[in-house]
């Protein structure tokens, strides 16, 4: 464990009197390596370790009863601090429906999350509606409808002559109208997975945003994402200025370093954690749990 490695690295220090940049170097390498093993972004891991070093140089770590454990606690506290607080509040609109736009890369878990979010609001006594704005993926509309039916939530989709209308912006607009007409107080718009380097698709989702002025935009990220997490988050944030991040597939054993990378670089809160395939597998984001996970 990191704690044991740090104990070992610091043992040689006892009796040396004080901590210097030189004798702390091995411990800092161990910390940086643990972060990289956990998929924290290379630059973020470097900056983070430098901050830890500042703290250690300013503290009397060597004379602690257990220097390794104290060092781990310093790292843990810093992780918790940088992961932000537990806060899953969504901005509700004064004029219903509150419009929530879901975006992210292919396969990250958006459609499933849209269903979960609808389920979450239904459980709180609200009347959500889902909108099927993914017109590309085979059977995407069927998928959303199947999930929605399982929790008895209405879905807005647009077909003409048996074909899905190939106009996500129009679908989003019409969905807002339908939600208003049906007195639904929340509209959750599911969109197609897209690459941050696909200009046409990024423009499309920015157009959807302009067309319906969402009250909340959530960026859905697979928790097992590696070094590329920052690239995608930065680009989506540039185009959409999203309000929050959702981390999915946290029921696996991925360390989830992408959480720290994204939170540090785009400075947007992580609002939800998806922890399974079923629609009830949704929890708020807990920074302490995430910090523990990243530390391994």
């Amino acid at each position: 464990s990191l704690s044991e490695k740090l104990e070992g690295a610091l043992q040689s220090l006892s009796g040396q009197g004080r901590i210097t940049e030189l004798n702390i170097a091995e411990s800092m390498r161990e910390i940086r390596r643990a972060l990289l093993d956990a998929d924290v972004n290379y630059q973020v891991a470097k900056d983070f370790t430098d901050r830890i070093k500042e703290q250690v140089l300013g503290q009397d770590v060597i004379n602690a009863v257990s220097p390794g454990q104290l060092l781990v606690k310093i790292v843990y506290d810093e992780l918790v601090h940088f992961l932000g607080e537990t806060q899953q509040d969504i901005t509700f609109s004064q004029n219903p429906p509150t419009v929530i736009l879901i975006a992210g890369l292919q396969g990250s878990g958006k459609t499933t999350f849209a269903g979960k979010l609808a389920n979450h609001f239904k459980g709180k006594g609200r009347s959500p509606m889902l909108a099927a704005a993914d017109v590309y993926r085979p059977a995407a509309v069927d998928q959303l409808k199947t999930l929605a039916d399982s929790i008895e939530v209405p879905v807005y989709s647009l077909e003409e002559n048996g074909q899905i209308v190939q106009d996500p912006v129009r679908i989003a607009r019409e969905a807002v109208k339908a939600a208003r007409e049906q007195a639904r107080d929340i509209l959750i718009i599911d969109t197609a997975g897209r690459l941050h380097v696909d200009d046409k698709m990024m423009t499309e989702v920015a157009d959807i945003k302009s067309a319906v002025s969402p009250d909340e935009i959530l960026f859905v990220v697979d928790a097992m994402t590696g070094q590329d997490a920052v690239n995608t988050a930065v680009e989506f944030n540039q185009r959409l200025n999203f309000d929050g991040v959702v981390l999915t597939k946290l029921d696996g054993d991925t360390r989830g370093g992408a959480a720290l990378s994204i939170r540090t670089v785009v400075e947007k809160p992580i609002k939800f954690a998806s922890t399974g395939e079923k629609l009830d597998a949704l929890t708020p984001f807990y920074p302490e749990r995430m910090a523990q996970r990243i530390l391994g």
Partner: protein, 283 residues
């Protein structure tokens, strides 16, 4: 000309950064750098180009080249009849889409193909594969939602045998490798296939998303334990992720990368090209 017999620190730092940011992972990066240092002290290098070639060679040597019992080329003669391929992996990596692409390529090479919709769990999974079957113009065996996936796999092979189909592609539900029950289910599906055709599945393709980090190693470990993975497919390489995870995995588990996914369309599949992949790491 006197050759250099050591690489300066700054070069090694740059190499470390390049490899780690490509998701090669710290352990494999350290191994590569060590190998490079050893070779340089033995063989010496004269120019930066020599050094770059040396580095690329070291990385390439970690990527297993393909295996004759699982030919990559779609026109190559198939060693079995039917040749059964099972596609596995965690949720959302691109299994179903990859099957659609593979079906289309085998068909274009003049082989008959059948799909097996053994994901009977996820919402609209069968409908999704159905559309791919239509696009690739190949038959599909499917059952109702909630049916036993092993039964679907079994029936697909039976149908393929009776119709003299050359290639069978079995789609399975995405599953996290940490879920013991689901991994057991996969082992059972494989065992049942062997009952229908001895030796089936002849290939087990593990699909990995190129943007996945070090957790891919855990995936490779558990899926290999459950169903003996024979090949890797690396998807979503049309993004900015480098997919460096396959280097350590290929070397440690002795599994070749067979195909790469480079988009969402039926044509967006390429045979894995080692030198091209390694070259792309250096951008």
């Amino acid at each position: 000309v006197r050759g250099k017999d050591s690489v300066d620190e700054e070069m090694l730092d740059d190499l470390e950064e390049l490899l780690v940011t490509s998701d090669v992972g710290v352990k494999t990066t350290v191994d590569i750098i060590r190998q490079v240092e050893d070779r340089v002290s033995r063989d010496k290098f004269v120019s930066i180009d020599d050094l770059n070639t040396l580095i690329k060679d070291e990385i390439t040597s970690l990527l297993l080249s393909d295996n004759p019992t699982q030919p990559i080329d779609f026109d190559a003669p198939l060693p079995n009849s039917p040749h059964v391929i099972m596609v596995v992996g965690v949720n959302g990596v691109g299994k179903t889409t990859t099957i659609g692409k593979l079906a289309s390529r085998y068909k274009a090479a003049g082989k008959s193909v059948m799909l097996g919709a053994a994901d009977t769990f996820r919402a609209a999974a069968t409908e999704q594969l159905d559309i791919w079957a239509e696009r690739a113009d190949v038959p599909i065996t499917k059952q109702g939602h909630g049916a036993d996936p092993a039964a679907v796999a079994y029936d697909t092979i039976a149908a393929a045998k009776s119709r003299n189909i050359d290639v069978v592609l079995i789609d399975t539900a995405g599953r996290l490798h940490t879920k013991g029950g689901l991994m057991d289910e996969l082992t059972k599906i494989k065992r049942v296939m062997d009952k229908q055709v001895v030796g089936a599945p002849h290939e087990v393709l593990l699909v990995l998303d190129a943007s996945t980090g070090q957790n891919a190693i855990r995936q490779a470990q558990e899926f290999t334990n459950a169903v003996d993975v024979t090949g890797l497919v690396l998807t979503k390489l049309d993004g900015t992720a480098k997919g460096g995870i396959v280097i350590g995995i290929s070397n440690e588990f002795r599994i070749p990368v067979k195909y790469i996914g480079v988009g969402e369309g039926i044509e967006d599949l390429q045979l894995f090209d080692r030198p091209r992949f390694v070259g792309a790491l250096f951008g």
